[in-house]
Point group: C2
Chain length 761, copies 2
């Protein structure tokens, strides 16, 4: 069922490209080095009848094609294409190709091609190699930008059956080398001839073919870059790697084992169509952020490693990815946090430049961690270039702090939390403290001039300066960050705390101020609901019905209004969840406690009213929005939760935004749907050295299982069946796991399980 749509095979074909991209991701300066790898896939063939001249070169886009199908095997990470050609003389050639980008050996990819003749005798000639003439052409609206990012190509051939191509990226000057070995597995092929040109390195070989005896050609490719450790040179290492690589069967077997192991570590059992989509999402998350990522200096790119949209930039999508990964591949989470840690100096520099202290992480960034958000963007509707203030989304810092804390809680990696994690958390807290100005008339601290997650509102109508004040999401998460920073200070071992304070030159009065700010940040309200920001309630109401009637899809209401000479800043209209994101990040009890500390009421009624309020004022112009709404509505037990869940699930499968999927999957939304099951439906929290559960299954998703890793416990099994929870901890020498299920608390000794009834809601 999942084979077919052009973008899936495309995605997977890009796996090797992805491997490189993950190496160079974010190395760009001014977006100049969003690199496409030299293409490792080219392999074409032609019919060479014994009694006639060779036919034309064939590939699935040739008119000789009579049948074609392709299958993506998620479990084993292979793509199989099956094609039948028939030439003018009626000779039929069946070609089956299986490709893999190795999950066990991150530098290898392989492609097996089987040829079968239907009644004719002769040979197939195969041309197989590497093409260095690649351009970035995946996103139509970027076509005016530089699309060529490689230079310095060299090609060569190595006896007996390998060719190589090396080049380097234009600006970031990273060397890339690929080597390809093409052989007939029965033995080395005597007639393989290298064909080298400036940008291409190919082999041709002629393989005899008789009916009833298919011929096989295997291509094995290795890719290394100058950023890979423990190598000689990319080129020599790539050539050695293909020379030493085992046969396709062995490669495939090891690749399957690696994938099976990954699926085991991230098992998610959901029945039906939803389960199928979730497994596809999991497949994308795992191939983008695999255990090999732990060895790389990379962040979480918004569009995965699959397409060219957003030019590989890193935004805040890790907020939707790490909470899921923490409970399966903590080493990958750790590496993604290390990526942010290495860019902490850049964030501190940005804060200083802005006249602040602490760390101001960038909204969009690439290699060196500086702010890369565009200053202008185009409204394709009006043709106008408009100022872009999205860099005022300083809440990205809270996302990083949240991940630091959650990772520490889930993994038990105190070493990280007390060193690099502490540095990030404290510097982000410091930034929020510096950003908070005391307003004597309000008797509150205020954070002004920001943009919240809802990018529609980048300022007040007719205001001279961009940004809004007292964005509830920003302020509440800032207060939470300050509280966690204070918690951390309290638990740091004393001698180390002193040293860390000294290193960060943190004066003792700073945490005192944090305490104060965390208690007195302003959160605006209007008409009994939390205001998205100060003054939101005074904005005009939009004629939602009218606009929907007039325009149909109003996801990009901002563009519609601007084209009309109006501005969305005038309206109570949000692109995506903003206030409601709070219900995504925090369990009800935790959210209530942050509000309590701030001295605000947040009873169930207020929250429900707030949810209702924004639900009717949101256009869902971001893929993440449906996810957040599903999550929040499930918690407030709303029957329409499933509608949003379905939208979140089908975001990329059905390409609901109409064309954006081909430009790159939406990794945050994909990971978020997984986490929706894992944490949203189960109410799973990891805090105070325990697992907390508070299941809220939907009618449409009432029976599911997840397998998680919690600290030293691998493969904890958690199953929900409508009114029942079962949790099993596998045998080990570890201590018992403390579990809190709503008001019940118990310990699970490794090697035991427990089944509990859930009171009906």
């Amino acid at each position: 069922m999942l084979a077919g749509p052009v973008h899936y095979p495309g995605t997977y074909a890009a796996g090797c490209y992805n491997r490189l991209l993950s190496t160079v991701a974010g190395r760009s300066v001014e977006n100049e080095d969003m690199v496409n790898l030299p293409n490792w896939l080219p392999l074409r063939y032609r019919i060479c009848p014994a009694d006639a001249a060779p036919g034309p070169w064939l590939s699935p886009d040739h008119p000789y094609l009579t049948e074609h199908r392709q299958t993506l095997d998620l479990r084993h990470g292979t793509l199989t294409r099956w094609s039948v050609y028939e030439d003018e003389a009626g000779r039929r050639l069946t070609v089956e190709q299986c490709r893999l980008v190795h999950m066990g050996e991150p530098h290898l990819a392989a492609l097996r091609t089987c040829f079968a003749s239907d009644g004719w005798t002769g040979a197939v000639e195969v041309e197989s190699g590497i093409d260095g003439a690649v351009r970035n052409a995946g996103v139509a609206r970027y076509r005016g930008l530089a699309d060529q990012h490689l230079t310095g190509w060299e090609t060569g051939a190595e006896q007996p059956d390998a060719v190589w191509l090396s080049c380097r990226t234009l600006d970031s000057d990273i060397r890339i080398a690929l080597a390809a070995r093409t052989r007939v597995p029965a033995g080395h092929n005597g007639v393989a001839r290298p064909q080298l040109s400036a940008l291409r390195a190919f082999h041709t070989l002629v393989v005899p073919l008789v009916p009833g005896s298919p011929a096989v050609v295997d291509k094995t490719v290795a890719l290394y870059t100058s950023r890979d450790p423990a190598i000689e040179s990319p080129r020599h290492t790539a050539v050695d790697a293909v020379a030493l690589a085992p046969h396709f069967r062995q490669l495939r077997a090891a690749h399957r084992r690696a994938w099976e192991n990954l699926w085991r570590q991230a098992k998610l059992e959901v029945p039906g169509e939803s389960g199928r989509i979730l497994r596809l999402h999991l497949f994308h998350v795992l191939q983008t952020l695999s255990p090999h990522t732990a060895e790389l200096d990379v962040g979480v790119p918004a569009r995965g490693l699959h397409g060219e949209a957003y030019r590989g930039h890193v935004f805040w999508d890790e907020l939707f990815v790490l909470p899921f990964l923490n409970l399966h591949l903590p080493q990958v989470s750790r590496a993604l946090l290390d990526y942010r840690y290495r860019r902490l100096p850049a964030a501190c520099h940005a804060a200083r430049e802005a006249g602040r202290t602490g760390a101001m992480y960038p909204w969009q960034s690439a290699g060196d961690g500086r702010e890369e958000t565009q200053q202008l963007h185009l409204n394709p509707r009006s043709g106008r270039w408009l100022p872009d203030h999205s860099r005022l989304q300083h809440h990205v810092g809270s996302a990083i702090a949240y991940n630091v804390w959650q990772y520490g809680q889930a993994s038990g990696d105190t070493e990280f939390l007390h060193t690099r994690g502490a540095e990030m958390l404290l510097e982000i807290a410091r930034f929020w403290s510096a950003a908070a100005d005391w307003d004597a008339s309000l008797g509150r601290y205020r954070i002004r001039g920001v943009v919240g997650p809802d990018e529609y509102h980048d300022g007040y109508p007719d205001a001279a300066e961009p940004g809004v004040d007292d964005n509830a999401y920003t302020n509440v998460t800032a207060a939470w960050v300050l509280m966690r920073a204070l918690d951390l200070c309290r638990t740091l071992p004393e001698p180390h705390q002193r040293q860390l304070f000294e290193q960060l030159q943190l004066a003792p009065e700073e945490p005192e101020r944090w305490e104060d700010v965390a208690h007195r940040l302003h959160v605006p309200y209007h008409r009994g609901v939390i205001s998205q920001f100060a003054g939101y309630g005074e904005l005009a109401e939009l004629d939602w019905h009218g606009y929907r009637q007039r325009y149909g899809d109003i996801r990009r209401l901002d563009r519609i209004l601007e084209a009309e000479g109006d501005t969305v800043n005038r309206y109570q209209a949000s692109k995506q969840a903003d206030v409601l994101m709070l219900g995504y990040l925090f369990a009800p009890s935790e959210l209530a406690s942050v509000f309590r500390r701030l001295g605000y009421p947040l009873d169930e009624e207020t929250w429900h009213a707030t949810v209702d309020y924004y639900l009717h004022r949101t256009s869902h112009g971001s893929t993440l929005s449906a996810l957040v709404h599903a999550w929040v509505l499930a918690r407030v037990h709303r029957p329409d939760a499933w509608t949003y869940c379905e939208e979140a699930l089908t975001g990329d499968v059905a390409d609901v935004q109409g064309g954006t999927t081909a430009e790159g999957i939406h990794l945050g939304a994909m990971a978020g749907t997984l986490d929706f099951v894992q944490r949203g439906m189960t109410g799973l929290e990891t805090r105070d050295q325990a697992l907390w559960l508070d299941p809220a299954p939907l009618r449409e998703l009432s029976k599911f299982g997840v397998r998680i890793r919690y600290r030293r416990h691998w493969d904890i099994d958690l199953r929900i069946r409508a009114e029942q929870v079962r949790i099993a901890v596998p045998a080990s020498e570890n201590a018992a796991v403390r579990v809190n299920l709503r008001d019940r608390s118990f310990s699970l000794v490794p090697g035991t399980s427990r089944r509990l009834d859930l009171p009906g809601d």
Copy 2:
């Protein structure tokens, strides 16, 4: 006292070079890329009297020099040079220079120069910059080898006061860029003129000088390479870094804080001259393997990062370094183990090539982890090139396994031990199992054809094949590795164990064989002592007295005998500790238990006899030998332990091998002396979730203190006073520390201390 000898300032001057070297260490193939950095230090000056032409360019090697002294401040990591010049007209110029290679900002170095005129008025002209014309000329006997490893130089200047030089390493193609900012701190100097040539980038500036008012010139240098993460390009980043770098005072203050913090984490209080030397050793260890190392892919080079001997190769010296680091900077130990982990595929490949399974780590390696040991070496005495079999020192694998295990025990980093650590440990165990051949006549497994730590014995006299059989050190450590691998298998959480076995394709019968081999490896004995290897007891006795009389220094007895047409293989003569290394690695109780498991008696009497036996048959041709002997003799309470300890302490300070120190300090021996106090004198072990103590203070070293980090406890303080031990655990939220002191066992709650009497021995 420590200022003066040419090699200390040299060492420290090389600090920045070291930073690079640590980045590229081991990137060499066939030793071609042992790189010296472009020199960042050049700064010369000349007297420009108001009433006469400028004098000649001055630096401390100029004949005008009348006074000179230099001081290395270990605590703060600064080198200060004070020079007085007097020209022919009697004008005196006093120059004080303070330099630092920043311990807080790994990319920065700084040099402050203060000029004072004695009675004359005018100016000094200063020329300051970067010199790219460097060659490897530090080791006389390598001068026939390629000594130039840089290429592709570019130079430039940036307004207002910076110059830069970039180049790349010849073979490994790593880009290196340095930028230097030279300014008069009172303000930008208007007359700075860049002077650029192909290989040099300099500034000149003229600074007015009047008596009584010294002038200051500050040089700030930044260095980046293409292997640094989170940068734009090395050149741009270096230029930005010097532009943004704070003033010298601030730089120095932060540098001092970083050093003070390091000293706190690795505090070692030993009184008197020994303490001073130990602090020098600690200084070298900390600047070579600082917290910044944790971000690099580097190993422990035998000669530190200080000189060119052994061309930066990695041997087994980490065995003497990590046990010390584990208890202070576990993140650095972890990174050094990660370095080995990244080269596990190369070690497995080497084993396969040798027809074995598992991991065969190389004796000497560089960047890609392949064996780099020379095939021939020169005996300078005879002028003959001889086959070099030192690559048969497969015991390096046991050193890595030992470090994996010890790191896991000391740090509590189960995540590492159960993943990367387990992979290394199991693959090394597998190699030993494969290397062990069953000998039915002996009823024992044997490991044949190896070289032990004593490199004198690389074969039997007149044997056709190199290597010796049943080297006791090799076999006993192999048995220990197999036992620890089995322990680990037992404690791995079950689902993870299954996955790991599957990944390594470890059949269930393999651990069964390990169990068998660990019980039945052969350890030869002769005349009541453990034999260094099978047949050692039948070798001829050497006329030690005669050779000492004839040659004086017989540390390189192998060369002496070979030059005489004889071979050291014929004699019971060792270059360095071999069997006795067992007493260094294992506490008496642990060693006895390994022997017991092997079915051999190892009572105190046998061990003492063994120690005596080899003590008289060792020439101490390695700097590590004295250390091991001191350690072992201290444990057997021999009064001559101190003699060896003193030799180990003075190895580099007095350059006891006559010239080798200038070619590079002996990092393993230096770290070993620190560990001699930390673990040797205290009997400190970390196992079974507890600290074990069994102090054995020497008369000459009876009062000392160490501060260690143990798992989550920072700064545990341990003090020994002849007959008393005091241990203090600082306040934290951590659990109590379990301590076993000989036959007493107790728990120490954080925030408490305990003082105990030691029974007199």
